[in-house]
């Protein structure tokens, strides 16, 4: 059993507060991904959990015990670093058994644990090599092996895939997900890549400017972003976001887009005259000659299985439409698009969502 609880965790460097009051409970065997743009405080949060950074305020509990002042090696955690941080002068086996050697574990026990971890990660044949003789993916696996050998309560990952090339990253993503199942361990994973967050997480924690923006399962967050920031950050291609004024016409609240004054009926009643932001996922837009949005196709991107069409809906504002293999038309064509009313997200002037979507 290993849960991690953060209670009002804060961190300031001098006068600058980078983490301002984070509350989070991570359950046993859960895979939680902290995701956010660079400089949002997610790495600092992870380093505070690891004990590499002191905690300015709040409480950190691991398995119900306060860990604020416990030394990093005594918290029962293992961390995988972005640069892998392997010890270059040691062989793979020595790298993996270093912590055990310091903990005065017997040689036989050490060898057994290293061999077990090497088997899980398919590193058996590389145990006597040095890190310099390994490829990026192999180094990554050694770094994970070093964590597994310690049999930690919680695994911490600090952007571990960002130094790998695209193909390897996808492969490692799958391996990490498999590993999580196999070890049934609690894992906390930090990344700026929302794809990694979506694909691996049991729960995603979207962090922005030192606070948690939203917390939920990947699909909850995708279908029901609670703020404009989350809406724009999660999902690829990015959600279409349009700024608009609101008005009451014939008893129906409508949004009047800034671009060409297109009118879109709103399912909610925003405060009188409020500015709102409308969000529509690119895959929710369909060609419809009666649609409220329209304009000239400026760019078409063929990605093979999917096609992205960018439509100028006025003043250079582009709407992205995602379709299958076929595109909406040719560059220069004028098309109109519509969307199912339940795929419209409305955010108020404070950036918070004005209505909750049911899960599709």
């Amino acid at each position: 059993m290993s849960s991690v609880t953060l209670k009002g965790i804060r961190k300031s460097f001098g006068g600058l507060e980078v983490v301002s009051g984070v509350d989070l409970h991570i359950k046993d065997q859960e895979f939680v991904v902290l995701v956010g743009p660079s400089g949002c405080g997610k790495t600092t949060l992870l380093r505070m959990i690891a004990g590499l950074e002191s905690i300015s305020g709040g409480e950190l509990l691991i398995d119900g015990q306060v860990m604020n002042r416990v030394r990093p090696d005594e918290r029962g955690l293992a961390m995988v670093f972005q640069s892998y941080a392997l010890y270059p002068h040691m062989t793979v086996a020595d790298n993996m058994s270093f912590a055990l050697r310091l903990a005065k574990v017997s040689k036989a026990e050490r060898d057994r644990k290293v061999n077990d971890a090497a088997k899980i990660l398919q590193l058996d044949h590389l145990l006597q090599r040095r890190p310099a003789q390994l490829s990026g993916g192999q180094r990554q696996r050694v770094a994970i092996g070093r964590a597994i050998v310690r049999d930690p309560k919680v695994f911490l990952f600090d952007e571990p895939l960002s130094n790998l090339d695209a193909a390897l990253r996808i492969q490692m993503r799958i391996e990490l997900a498999r590993l999580h199942k196999q070890l049934s361990a609690t894992m906390i994973y930090v990344t700026h890549d929302q794809v990694e967050a979506m694909t691996m997480a049991d729960r995603i924690v979207v962090v922005n400017k030192g606070v948690i923006e939203q917390l939920g399962t990947p699909m909850e967050i995708y279908q029901n972003p609670s703020t404009v920031f989350v809406a724009g950050f999660i999902g690829s291609p990015k959600m279409n976001l349009f700024e608009a004024d609101t008005a009451l016409e014939n008893g129906q609240a409508v949004a009047i887009l800034d671009n060409r004054g297109q009118r879109i009926p709103l399912p909610v009643d925003p405060p009188r005259g409020a500015r709102v932001t409308l969000g529509i996922r690119p895959e929710a837009l369909n060609v419809d000659s009666q649609g409220p949005l329209g304009g000239e196709i400026t760019v078409i991107e063929h990605l093979g299985g999917e096609t992205l069409t960018y439509i100028d809906i006025g003043n250079g504002k582009l709407a992205t439409v995602k379709t299958g293999e076929a595109s909406l038309g040719q560059v220069g064509d004028t098309v109109r698009v519509s969307f199912p009313p339940d795929r419209l997200h409305v955010f108020g002037p404070d950036g918070r969502a004005l209505l909750n979507h049911r899960n599709h």
């Binding site: 961390m79 670093f81 010890y87 310091l102």
Partner: protein, 301 residues
């Protein structure tokens, strides 16, 4: 057309550079070669001559007499011993104190910039000047700072240069070279990956275990560089000895370079000094051979 051009370029790049670079390099290569070969040839020539400056007109071929005389003279063996003790001792001292200083200067503390500057300063003092300072201000048995310190705690003063001559010279030379080691090792410390240290901390290494398991191995490479460069200079230490002990008392601080100086300019025996020079060249080459081998091995890792 463009395909043809591409082909031509490809062919040329297969054969090497577009122009013949040998004539361009020749002047510097020839100059350096002359620079090296003329003194070497003259040394070899003089080493087989009977040639004393007290009677410069009567020179003659001596064969291996100079070498026989030198190699059967216990002075040479003693000088070789002194040279090796001095070089090895100073190397050990500079590495140990260099690592200590570098570790201290790498940690953040107020006034670190000034401390770094002061720590590097001895390197910029001329050898003769530093030797004079140590001889007259620090190690002097009557007026020196050390004897004053010993006296003030009630201990007898030490006459450094007569009681511990080689150690005293070694201390002076080490004082000059510790800054160099510190500088190289400090830059190396600064390049130690922060995440690696953090990973080691999470693995439970701290203090001494962190130092021996992570920091020290990281420094090996720059240590070999320090050893290589310092060896070149330490083999030819001369000014410090001339200024402080003049090779004495007796032959206690006569190293190989000082022996050559003594033979040539105090005994006026050019032939014998040249033979000593040849021995020094052989010694330096033996050292260089092993150094380059170990260092090449070390740098490959």
């Amino acid at each position: 057309m463009s395909q043809n051009q591409a082909k031509t370029v490809a062919v040329i790049s297969d054969e090497g550079p577009l122009i013949n670079t040998k004539p361009l390099m020749a002047p510097s290569v020839i100059l350096l070669f002359i620079w090296m070969i003329v003194p070497l040839a003259m040394t070899l020539w003089f080493s087989v001559r009977r040639y004393n400056l007290l009677d410069p007109s009567s020179t003659s071929f001596a064969g291996f007499d100079n070498y026989t005389f030198l190699l059967t003279d216990p002075t040479l063996l003693h000088a070789l011993q002194n040279t090796i003790v001095l070089v090895v001792g100073v190397l050990a001292a500079t590495i140990i104190f260099g690592v200590a200083c570098a570790m201290a200067l790498d940690a953040p503390f107020p006034g670190r910039g000034i401390a770094r500057l002061l720590c590097i300063a001895p390197f910029f003092v001329m050898p003769t000047v530093s030797a004079l300072i140590w001889k007259n201000l620090l190690m002097h048995p009557v007026n020196g700072l050390f004897s004053w310190m010993l006296k003030s705690v009630g201990l007898p003063a030490i006459d450094w240069f007569s009681d511990y001559p080689l150690i005293s010279v070694g201390i002076i030379v080490a004082w000059q070279w510790i800054p160099f080691a510190t500088l190289i090792l400090l830059t190396s410390l600064q390049s130690l990956d922060r995440e690696q240290v953090e990973a080691a901390r999470m693995d439970g290494a701290r203090g001494w275990t962190l130092f021996t398991n992570i920091t020290l191995p990281h420094l090996y490479r720059s240590m070999t560089i320090v050893v290589m460069i310092e060896t070149i200079f330490l083999l030819s230490v001369f000014a410090e000895i001339l200024v402080t002990t003049s090779g004495g008392p007796g032959e206690a601080t006569t190293t190989l370079p000082f022996l050559i100086y003594k033979t040539a300019l105090l005994d006026y025996d050019v032939g014998g000094a040249s033979a000593g020079g040849v021995v020094a060249i052989v010694l330096a080459n033996i050292v260089a051979f092993f150094l380059v081998r170990t260092i090449a091995h070390n740098l490959e890792r």
